[in-house]
């Protein structure tokens, strides 16, 4: 009797083991084709879109492979489709493996299509597909997305998922591109009061691009030469109610990222005009934002009053005019005042641009306004979207210069 019981138990356990394979959802790395980048374009056919898939080969580049694999690291296909969910099935007539959006990193939309009102229903379907994660990035490219992927040939990072991850992470860290995840896109869309910025990228380099400041470029304007990939990430595309309306260059994007407390910029290197230099030389400085902005609002009048204080810490890293700050404290103060004036002017310029040209704040400023209302109805009656362009905004950078760089060496050079 006991033996029978034991056998029965064993049988049950063995049958349970079978369910560990996950039934219908059994997946094998070898059998899947992981889409890393998804491009969306206008199609020549009416009402359709052109979907481009950048598919990574999981066999390439892994250490365990020992470099034995001679397969290409990626595969790119473009075709017309109704949306990019059913497109998975269509793609299978070309790709031998099962298409999966599980590891999707970036969705790239051509500028032309992003400006089309049809873009909104197409991108909203990312919410419906549970495979697409909301931390994937949304980017806008200047050319057609299908061409963008073809021209994008990273030299060092042949594995596409690493390339996009590094490129985007570094761009966000130094503030030249916004942190434009799908999550942020949809929350800006649902909030309905603010604009959204998506990163701007291109592989087309403008021929007539002159030298500008270190961050005044939009993607495609930086004239680089050498042995390299031509893809550039810089600047941003501005979306209003889910559709692209305008674009900003790297400097503007950076300033807005500094104004925005919800992104973390870490390592911003900038050039500031050197007040002591006679030949328009520029200082290099590292900017860090240590605290959150202080924002006070008075929304009672006809023109709402908003005051933003930005705490910034600067480290001066070069000294082209060879001024010795250690000996001369007055020059220190002069430099600080100069920098404050310079940055205030920059912020005021972009602030004015958001109020007059964009007619909306590209970062979630309305969240600060909500505190002044007790119920949602009151807030809706106030109508932030209408009030913002009229608002009287003052921006005060609160600058602390942490370090003036090494003084001694400069001193010695001068005395020689």
């Amino acid at each position: 009797m006991q033996n029978i019981k034991r056998v029965c138990k064993l049988l049950i356990i063995i049958s349970i083991i079978c369910s560990l394979t996950g039934c219908w959802d059994r997946e094998e790395l070898e059998e899947n084709a992981y889409v890393i980048g998804l491009g969306i374009d206008h199609s020549k056919l009416k009402g359709k879109i052109k979907v481009t898939m950048l598919i990574a080969n999981p066999e390439v580049g892994s250490v365990q492979g020992g470099g034995g694999s001679t397969e290409k690291p990626r595969e790119i296909i473009s075709f017309d489709a109704n949306d990019f969910i059913a497109a998975k099935a269509t793609a299978n007539s070309v790709i031998s493996r099962d298409i999966s959006y599980e590891l999707l990193k970036v969705i790239i939309v051509s500028e032309e299509f992003a400006k089309d009102p049809n873009f909104l229903p197409i991108i909203t379907s990312t919410l419906k597909d549970k495979e697409i994660r909301l931390d994937s990035y949304l980017a806008v490219c200047k050319e057609k997305a299908s061409e963008y992927f073809l021209k994008n040939h990273p030299r060092m990072e042949t594995r596409p998922h690493k390339y996009f991850q590094f490129m985007i992470d570094n761009g966000i860290n130094n503030g030249l591109i916004p942190d434009s995840t799908l999550f942020r896109y949809f929350s800006a869309l649902d909030r309905g009061t603010d604009l959204f910025m998506a990163m701007y990228t291109t592989t087309e380099i403008e021929k007539s691009s002159n030298f500008k400041g270190e961050d005044h470029y939009a993607a495609g304007q930086l004239n680089v030469s050498g042995e390299l990939d031509k893809t550039q990430f810089s600047g941003s595309a501005v979306f209003k109610n889910g559709v692209m309306v305008d674009k900003l260059d790297g400097l503007d994007t950076r300033l807005i990222n500094i104004l925005d407390d919800t992104t973390d910029i870490q390592d911003v290197l900038v050039n500031v005009p050197d007040p002591f230099s006679e030949s328009d030389n520029q200082l290099a400085a590292r900017v860090t934002k240590t605290n959150n902005n202080k924002i006070t609002m008075n929304l009672n009048g006809v023109r709402p009053k908003i005051e933003i204080t930005i705490p910034l810490t600067l480290t001066i890293m070069s000294n082209p005019s060879m001024v010795n700050y250690a000996k001369d404290p007055e020059k220190k103060n002069f430099l600080k005042e100069f920098i404050v004036k310079d940055t205030t002017a920059l912020f005021e310029k972009i602030q004015e641009k958001t109020q007059t040209e964009l007619k909306g704040s590209p970062y979630p400023l309305s969240l600060y306004a909500r505190k002044h209302f007790k119920t949602n109805k009151e807030f809706e009656r106030f109508n932030w979207a209408k009030a913002y362009p009229k608002a009287d905004v003052t921006i005060k950078p609160d600058i602390v210069i942490e370090d003036f760089g090494i003084q001694k060496k400069v001193l010695n050079n001068k005395e020689d």
């Binding site: 549970k130 649902d190 119920t375 009151e378």
Partner: protein, 368 residues
């Protein structure tokens, strides 16, 4: 179902915490958000305030009948016939709640994790595990839940901390959401969050003592009220206005964040632990429902009833066609009535006990 051992306070409290705490991980926070927007986090607290009096009176009534369970008390206070209908009502409501809740959990598993597996298969496997747990008896459920409760709390707190990193506290304003009248209106059906506490009196006869039961109930009541409120608060901060459109914010959240660049797709870490909590919750509920059913219809071998009842729940749970129907039509109705009526039943029991002079009698007995 022979029972020798009794359930102690430790095991009992963890069962109750898991039973009610898992509600924060399904559609409850977003349902509250749709009612009152940014004030959703207040509802669990205010509902707890509403439920405080019925719960206090319920425990007071039971304290008179030291260690007697719901069946004895109902029979003694309401008599055979009214008592029968009250118990039947409790059984029907909790059965419907269990069947739609299990369906919702299967929907979550199906739509987030096992997309290709047919829903019925997921549902059957889910219920099989619960049946197995329920058949083992409440003592086993209790000890398993005590073992698991720390891991579950830890993983939930971790998930919340990761959500806080991406969230913005200013989303909580306007502080009153859609206004005070709406908050009060939604808080009354909100008491359904704690309706399980009334059902749990069924377990009194397998508890070590009434004191443990009362103490455990209070601890779990306060903890879950804070827990659900905190979860709603964090989800509002994380999702802001998008929360209204999300079915299951917890699962959307764990799919969103990652431990830096290195460890992504962390939902595979949280999912099994959440699943354990769900199994314990429904095993306990299944056990309670079976006990109710067995008592109402005088069935002695209640153990054989569990698979049968689970099958019925499976069949009723499959009635709604889509997950949307489950959340917005079927479950919403149960949510609307369960809490207030369960509170009314506790009030009824107390009033009858007061009128019958049970409290005086008990005092007399103590005095002597």
């Amino acid at each position: 179902m022979k029972q020798h051992e009794k359930v102690g306070i430790r095991d009992y409290t963890s069962i109750v915490i898991l039973m009610m705490g898992t509600k924060a991980t399904e559609n409850t926070p977003s349902a509250f958000y749709n009612d009152v927007q940014s004030a959703a986090w207040m509802i669990p607290l205010i509902s707890a305030g509403f439920f405080l009096i019925p719960l206090f009176l319920l425990l007071k009534t039971f304290s008179v009948f030291q260690g007697k369970d719901l069946f004895v008390v109902v029979k003694k206070l309401l008599g055979k016939y009214i008592g029968f209908f009250v118990l039947l009502y409790l059984f029907i409501i909790s059965s419907l709640a269990v069947s739609f809740d299990t369906r919702m959990y299967s929907d979550i598993i199906h739509s987030f994790y096992f997309r290709r597996t047919p829903l019925v298969v997921v549902y059957i496997i889910f219920l099989l595990v619960c049946v197995y747990g329920a058949k083992k008896g409440i003592q086993h459920i209790g000890s398993v839940s005590y073992i698991m409760v720390w891991y579950i709390i830890f993983s939930f707190v971790l998930a919340m901390i990761l959500s806080i990193m991406d969230s913005n506290i200013r989303s909580i304003y306007p502080i009153l959401g859609s206004g005070i009248p709406d908050i009060i209106k939604s808080s009354i059906p909100g008491t359904t969050l704690f309706a399980d506490l009334v059902l749990l009196t069924v377990l009194l006869s397998s508890m070590s003592s009434f004191k443990d039961f009362a103490k455990g109930t209070w601890i779990a009541f306060i903890l879950t009220a804070i827990h659900i409120s905190a979860a709603a608060f964090i989800f509002i901060c994380l999702f802001d206005r998008s929360l209204g459109g999300l079915g299951y914010p917890f699962h959307t959240a764990i799919r969103y964040f990652s431990f830096g660049n290195f460890l992504t797709n962390v939902e595979t870490l949280f999912f099994p632990i959440w699943l354990m909590a769900a199994f314990i919750r429904f095993a306990a509920l299944l056990y309670i429902c079976t006990k109710l059913f067995a008592h109402i219809f005088h069935i002695k071998e209640a153990g054989y009833l569990i698979p049968a009842l689970a099958t019925i729940y499976l069949l009723t749970g499959m009635i709604p066609e889509t997950p949307l129907d489950v959340a917005l039509v079927f479950k919403a109705k149960i949510r609307l009535i369960a809490g207030p009526t369960f509170a009314a039943i506790s009030l009824l029991l107390w009033t009858v006990a007061l009128l019958k002079g049970e409290f005086n009698y008990a005092k007399h007995k103590k005095g002597m």
